[in-house]
């Protein structure tokens, strides 16, 4: 089989070209954002925001405004609501997140089910990237470009926020504003991603790329580049797989990302699972053959003993 016609054949169809563009835009934006989200420990927040946009999307279709406006309002609203409930109760964060997003998701389901003719629930939940119109394509491209520009402009502050929030505060940065900014960007990237893979799977786009890249490097800049590279490749592979194997595009894209994660988890050097096991086997064989080597310098976790009360 010739590779070139194999690659160009799907692109003869306008809807497939649009699908590829939307998926790529979503992949790049969410891959970049995922690097900060996983370091902040906000993966569950991504899940919450993506589910919470359902009523927004449904209402937008019913009212006839662009879906991204409705989705963003409800995404940002969910974040604000979670923040407000956390500030006024003693509940743990994951509890508050769980209560709020399931409530909003259920409200969305109720709205959709009461107007069955106008909104296709399956398309919202699982994405309908093959049915993207050119106006929806433009929404995704513009929102994606804005999100990316803001993230990259503030990237050093966001990294500082994730690494050492106290230091950021002590040198006079507005950590509340930076947190709110990152949450707003999270809501925007959910909006960008949900056309491509749907509400249920968009969180995968916001977690898996950063998680995969984190396993591969110990430098944040490399992590960004790797996350984007891996995700773009997985997005393209997913769209072609969906065309030739006739499977759901969103599922194919997310599965490609998960396959890369699995490969990295198992085979990456030096920290992949198989290399770890190999090292352990070699060490065991050595210790069986020879007397144990002296242990290395004292571990850094041992606490100095308090010498009070003398």
């Amino acid at each position: 089989m010739d590779i070139l016609p194999w690659l160009t054949e799907p692109l003869q169809y306008g809807f497939l070209t649009r699908a590829l563009l939307v998926t790529l835009a979503a992949a790049v934006v969410s891959a970049v954002l995922s690097c900060w989200l996983i370091l902040m420990g906000w993966s569950l927040m991504g899940d919450a925001v993506s589910h919470a946009v359902l009523p927004g999307v449904a209402l937008a279709y019913i009212v006839g405004i662009p879906f991204s406006i409705g989705a963003f309002i409800f995404g940002a609203g969910a974040v604000a609501l979670i923040g407000a409930v956390r500030a006024t109760t003693k509940l743990k964060p994951d509890t508050v997140i769980g209560v709020v997003f399931t409530a909003l998701f259920a409200a969305g389901l109720a709205i959709v089910s009461s107007t069955p003719a106008q909104v296709d629930l399956m398309h919202i939940l699982f994405g309908n990237v093959l049915g993207v119109t050119s106006s929806e394509l433009w929404q995704v491209l513009i929102l994606g470009a804005v999100t990316l520009a803001v993230v990259l402009f503030k990237r050093r502050d966001l990294t500082l926020l994730a690494f050492d929030r106290t230091h950021a505060h002590v040198i006079g940065l507005n950590t509340r504003f930076l947190s709110a900014l990152l949450l707003g960007l999270l809501a925007l990237s959910v909006v960008v991603g949900l056309q491509a893979v749907g509400i249920i799977l968009v969180v995968a786009m916001l977690i898996t790329p950063g998680a995969t890249a984190f396993l591969l490097t110990r430098s944040f800049d490399h992590m960004l580049v790797l996350a984007v590279g891996i995700t773009v490749a997985a997005a393209v592979a997913g769209v072609y797989a969906s065309y030739y194997l006739d499977i759901s595009t969103g599922a194919a894209v997310v599965l490609s990302q998960s396959l890369v994660f699995t490969a990295v988890y198992l085979f990456a050097r030096p920290n992949g699972l198989l290399w770890q096991q190999r090292r352990r086997r070699i060490r065991r064989r050595r210790t069986a053959a020879a007397p144990p080597p002296p242990t290395r310098a004292a571990s850094s976790t041992t606490a100095a003993a308090p010498l009070g009360k003398s």
């Binding site: 370091l39 992590m223 003398s310």
Partner: protein
């Protein structure tokens, strides 16, 4: 009590001037009418058991906790203004840091410069020079490309001290800096902190480890919700004072 005039250049204001500071959590007092003045250019040891209010005092000085009563002046300024001027640096406790975070030693020290930079925090040549000088001062220049978690316990502490040097901070708040640090690293840090003091910086070290205090500190403060004693280490670390501070164990913090 009158506050010192906010003129840093003329008469040197006290590094820290706290009046009647009161903080309560859910009606449990953490700090009870604390009065404390620290002259600049000294190393002060803040001593107390867990739950004595050391962490609360630090958090209040940094503006992370709002006091119910009292006032704080750092170099004669409100803490907010002092922070914005980059005068205050904080060294976190080891367990509060994500050591797997993908930043290099150089990146961490460069974060000290952010308060001096424009909106994108892009380092200029002078900033790179300041980062390099700070790394050299703490003896980590050969390890600057390492990921922060690849350093030993003592080296990690020195990386954070380098960050406050790069920041050009005048008041260093060190929270339990000797926890998880071996003897020789503790000695290295003691020398380093004394050098910083001799350059005119003020250092407040919170610790429940009394062994290093006489060697390191010019003054000591014994805290147990209130200031029980304040003076030279020899005056403060008497068995009578220690019995008062450490005998009445506070609740866990």
């Amino acid at each position: 009590m009158s506050l010192p005039a906010p003129a840093r250049d003329s008469a040197p204001a006290a590094a820290l001037h706290v009046t009647d500071l009161t903080v309560t959590y859910n009606e449990v007092p953490a700090l009870d009418a604390v009065d404390l003045t620290l002259d600049s250019g000294l190393i002060c040891g803040l001593i107390g058991v867990n739950g004595s209010g050391k962490s609360t005092l630090f958090k209040t000085l940094m503006g992370l906790v709002e006091p119910q009563a009292g006032s704080i002046a750092l170099f004669g300024m409100p803490h907010r203004q002092a922070r914005r001027s980059g005068l205050v640096a904080y060294m976190p406790q080891a367990e509060d840091v994500d050591w797997n975070f993908p930043v290099s030693v150089n990146d961490v020290v460069a974060m000290g410069r952010y308060g001096h930079l424009g909106a994108t925090r892009r380092l200029r040549q002078a900033d790179h020079a300041a980062v390099g000088a700070a790394l050299e001062k703490v003896g980590l220049e050969s390890l600057r490309k390492r990921q922060i978690g690849e350093l030993s316990g003592g080296q990690r502490k020195r990386a954070f001290i380098a960050r406050s040097i790069a920041q050009e901070a005048q008041l260093l708040l060190l929270d339990e800096p000797f926890a998880g640090v071996d003897r020789s690293s503790e000695a290295t840090m003691t020398v380093l902190l004394k050098e910083l003091r001799d350059e005119g910086r003020s250092v407040l070290v919170s610790t429940h480890n009394l062994a290093g205090i006489p060697e390191l500190c010019d003054t000591a403060v014994l805290l147990h919700q209130r200031v029980l004693a304040h003076g030279t280490p020899a005056d403060v670390l008497t068995s009578e004072n220690l019995a008062r501070a450490f005998g009445t164990m506070g609740s866990d913090n």
